[in-house]
Symmetry: D2
Subunit: 361 residues, 4 copies
């Protein structure tokens, strides 16, 4: 209700500030008997952690995850799983200069307006550091979905600035995504993206982009009618990630130019005699419910707000001032955001899997 929980049946609650004691998550509702190790969760977190390449922030957090409850003898018990990472590389003094001003396009101003006070070390609760908790919870969901429902989720960077990858989303595999530091499976585009990010970095600036998320094997029937349509929940999940400004499923905004006769996906009988869908403009979801076809959606990230370039701003006491960030920040969040998008997709699908089982299982 206060915004730190997500999901109904596979329900996560995250906590923690960027420079507080710890960041983590409670996962309630996980089916019992799922084998899960610290190492498995850690491997997902390592894809998100800072300092993994020279185009990411040099903040040195190991983000070592501890599983403190809900797992016994290597398997989930069905009761709440607590996972947390202690904050280590905390340098609040880096933020002394920011204590009394509003960083442009950050949440300083609105948090103060909302709560009357704020944790000014880093971005406090508004920090993207919170997303490590999502990735940890998502790792559990991904494992369950893979083992028990045959679901595979593959997200990748499709665009950085004006550079667009050329690849067939249906054929992208995790190995291809991990083969470049920008997490774009199109090697040629990846090279250009990397160059662009370095250029932006050297200018003390930042750049946005698009991540595509593909879900293979989503069981037919997941999703709910009316408000909790599968793509509505995916949309909310993605839009809740820091820096995300847009979401589309299937052709998305591209569908507005088309006629119904162009956009509709005809039903056909496939070689195996099964009813299938000839095209997949809908992105795998019809009326809010998974059709069994590949789910495909796209997530737009704005450029990171923290930049070294000097900007106009105002102090909390209302005096105009200048700001040139000296902290340790990413010129482009896309490479590190890929596992977050994966995680959010996994959390939505997992929740709807349990919901579907409850009513129709």
């Amino acid at each position: 209700m206060a915004g730190s929980s997500f999901g109904e049946l596979f329900r996560i609650t995250t906590f923690g500030e960027s420079h507080g004691g710890a960041v983590g998550v409670v996962v309630d509702g996980c089916p019992p008997g799922l084998e899960i190790s610290q190492a498995e969760v850690q491997s997902e977190l390592d894809r998100r952690k800072p300092g993994q390449s020279d185009i990411t922030t040099p903040r040195k957090e190991e983000d070592t995850i501890h599983i403190l409850s809900g797992v016994f003898e290597g398997k989930t018990t069905g009761t709440p799983i607590l996972m947390l990472a202690h904050n280590k590389d905390v340098r609040p003094q880096d933020y002394d200069a920011l204590k009394d001003l509003y960083r442009p396009s950050h949440a300083d101003f609105t948090y103060l307006a909302k709560y009357g006070r704020r944790d000014w070390r880093g971005s406090g609760r508004a920090s993207a550091r919170e997303t490590l908790a999502r990735v940890a919870a998502g790792a559990v969901a991904k494992k369950y979905l893979r083992l028990h429902a045959g679901v595979e989720i593959v997200s990748f960077v499709e665009q950085v600035g004006h550079i667009v990858a050329t690849c067939d989303p249906e054929r992208v595999i995790p190995k291809d995504v991990e083969s470049t530091i920008v997490r774009c499976p199109d090697a040629a585009a990846a090279e250009k993206m990397e160059a662009l990010i370095r250029e932006v970095q050297s200018e003390g600036d930042s750049i946005g982009g698009v991540i595509r998320c593909v879900v293979h094997g989503c069981p037919r029937g997941l999703g709910a009618p009316v408000f909790d349509k599968l793509h509505a929940d995916l949309g909310k999940a993605m839009l809740s990630i820091n820096a995300v400004k847009g979401f589309e499923v299937g052709l998305g905004f591209g569908a507005v130019h088309l006629r119904g006769s162009q956009h509709n996906d005809p039903f056909v009988v496939d070689e195996g005699g099964e009813v299938s869908i000839r095209t997949n403009n809908a992105g795998g979801i019809l009326g809010g419910i998974a059709s069994g076809a590949m789910i495909s959606c796209r997530v737009a990230f704005k450029p990171v707000a923290t930049i070294a370039k000097e900007q106009d701003t105002v102090t909390t006491s209302g005096t105009p001032t200048k700001l040139a960030a000296s902290g340790r920040h990413d010129p482009c969040v896309l490479p590190r955001a890929v596992p977050i998008v994966d995680a959010m997709a996994a959390l939505v699908i997992m929740d709807h899997l349990l919901r579907h089982k409850a009513q129709n299982g």
Copy 2:
């Protein structure tokens, strides 16, 4: 949980199928003492109702709303408000031909997959007729927001097919929206849109478009950190509307091409000595929380799935067949969808207003 409720504190639950007994909504959590009349709710519904112009479906539903509880002596009591409209122009025989086949890009196939059975009269629960319940609930929220929080919501058609309106979202007023039957405040564009819709209609086809939604006067501080960011909830709200495939806030997908130094909105001190934001690329929301600036978002609608043109499809027993719809349908849903977008925005803002009051009021 089963998908027919929306909101946490201003919570609505809708019910009804397109050709069942009634369609309606229970609103729970409305503050007491709000003056609300049947006529006020009806006037919002009349903007959504079928047959309002010759570019909408000729289905003849008066959609007369009845308020059966929760209002006493003209004011809300604080207890659940039930509003419903009986279904009148029910012609299930129109759907006999559709009973045993899957309409392309409709929910027939996925509902059957989910529930093992379906109400084949019209689209049953998947029908856009359900949205009248949202508009009724939204009318109550809009009234409250206008009177008690100074919030005004203005949605309008910004694009149909390739035709894009030219207008400053900040200056559009409701009267301008209602001045054309397509609900586009740019009269010249409206004329072209209308022509395009008629052309598409004559071809037995359909066309998509974009609605922009603007919220004036949203109190600073509404929204929640992390998962229930204000734009994440707006996104879910909009994506849950039939035929919606994309959502963006502020510059949205347009932000991905920009540098941080271009996209960031500097804080300034305005003439009145107040802290304000020079540009509004963020669309009125920072870190998920309203900044006090105008909220602006865009909603992409695909072309309606029901078209008169012949299409390939398959029967429920798996035989390929052809379908040319003969029912009564809209060539373009955008004009009638404007009040639905209004309503969903009102429901989100209203819910967050109460949530904010609870914790920070």
Copy 3:
């Protein structure tokens, strides 16, 4: 959130005031394919309706239930079921005298304190008339539980005033309950109870009592650890019924006098070689989770607040006055409350059945 919904997965939302347009319920989350007719729901309602015998209020409401959505071709569709009864025997003038005073031990005073206004016709939303909505929803749950989980719920009047029935709860069957107008299966006690109720009625007074509720066949494993223990949810369900002041499970308050060695239920191997429980002091629930043994709980009802005897009270403007109710009221609610207790038990078990299936199914 505003108090008119119950259940998480089998979720009901009730609406309506005693003298408004209608009273009813939306049931969301019901599994599809359940055969349910208006007549089946009506037969449960008839057990609750006023005027069924001369020891109940003579208010003449037929309480005819209408099913307006969610059921198609005689079966549930999986989407929201709307059931409502129009208010017919509405005589608001009966309440003119009550408009400006606080009836002792009624909710007039607190509703006014909460909402700043109230519907003074009857008890408005606080009227026990709301419980017809619970009984309607409970009828659907009971049917599902009987057919799909082998669960039978039997509630009966065990005590009225000082008269206590002697009967083995395990052996009471529905026919025995319905064999007397007080719904007590012990015929001798029933006769005394009836006499007591008539005596109280003739004195213009009212009397309380206890209903026992027994659940046979509750599947082992239903319930949740920690906060949503099965008996905690049953307790809340029962305590939410008008006039209920106490709840106990198993030996309840009787357990406080015992030693652990007396109260503990030893595990044994039964004749069929199955693990079973020798005694059932726990009332069928261990650690909040159903053990498979019969669930047994007791619900205490205070005497009805509305009495013909003259009482001291105060007007809304703060002047002392006298009140002698002239309306149409029950001297003892127990006989009509039996189906309500049945319904609340069914709603709790049904909800936990779906919750259990979601996580462990």
Copy 4:
């Protein structure tokens, strides 16, 4: 949904097993700006901790609480508060003997039935050790209620076995409760209770009792109509505490013997000219909503299931066996349960305070 969360707006989620890594709680929705220190929370926990006197279990847990998020510069930030205690005095070998059998009246059997596996060290998630998390969260709520709403909660032991305290609940103050190790303000009764507990302890047995909970200063209007009546939520809260078997508000089960004319509480005008209630048989709540009078309820605890006396039971493979517990357990949980009852009352009142503010504030 999976049972480890409580409250809607002041929402807590607990985690942890008795012999896992840690036990704790996330509190989401706390208003910002509340001064709260580790020491304040600790002082409530110390009332619950094992080993505090020789009539409690000698398990040596310091239960040192760590606040790892949500508090900055000594005040709540409005974002999630994580509090946890590491498990120190863990001796899983104590439980080796229990690994393969079902302890009578414990949750071993039902957890295994539910989840297919269980954490057999201590009682895992079913351990009363979980309640330390409730007490920590309750400490925050109590502090807020005292400072910002003038609410004081006083719980005390009213009965142990057959020994009943004689004291006026309205006049009991915290100091009196803490003046005896059984937490009974009637010193004479306390002495007898203590003697009884020692006797029971020496016999290797256990004993039950009753805790009364009183809430002073609950603002008029808190609570909700219909399902979330204030006493229904209090009832659920108390019934969710380990070993609780019964709950009553006001006269509770005692009300069933009375006539309406005896039980009704007349309204009067008090000396200050305010409307007030002459008696308080209702226990401070009318129609589910606080009347402003003192709230009073009673909670029945069964005797602890773990006893040293030999009992019959069965192994998990279905062989009859004997069990005589050798662990470290309480002969009577009542003294340590007082702060838990306090905490649950505080959580319910706090949640309804925020809910009331949201709708009617």
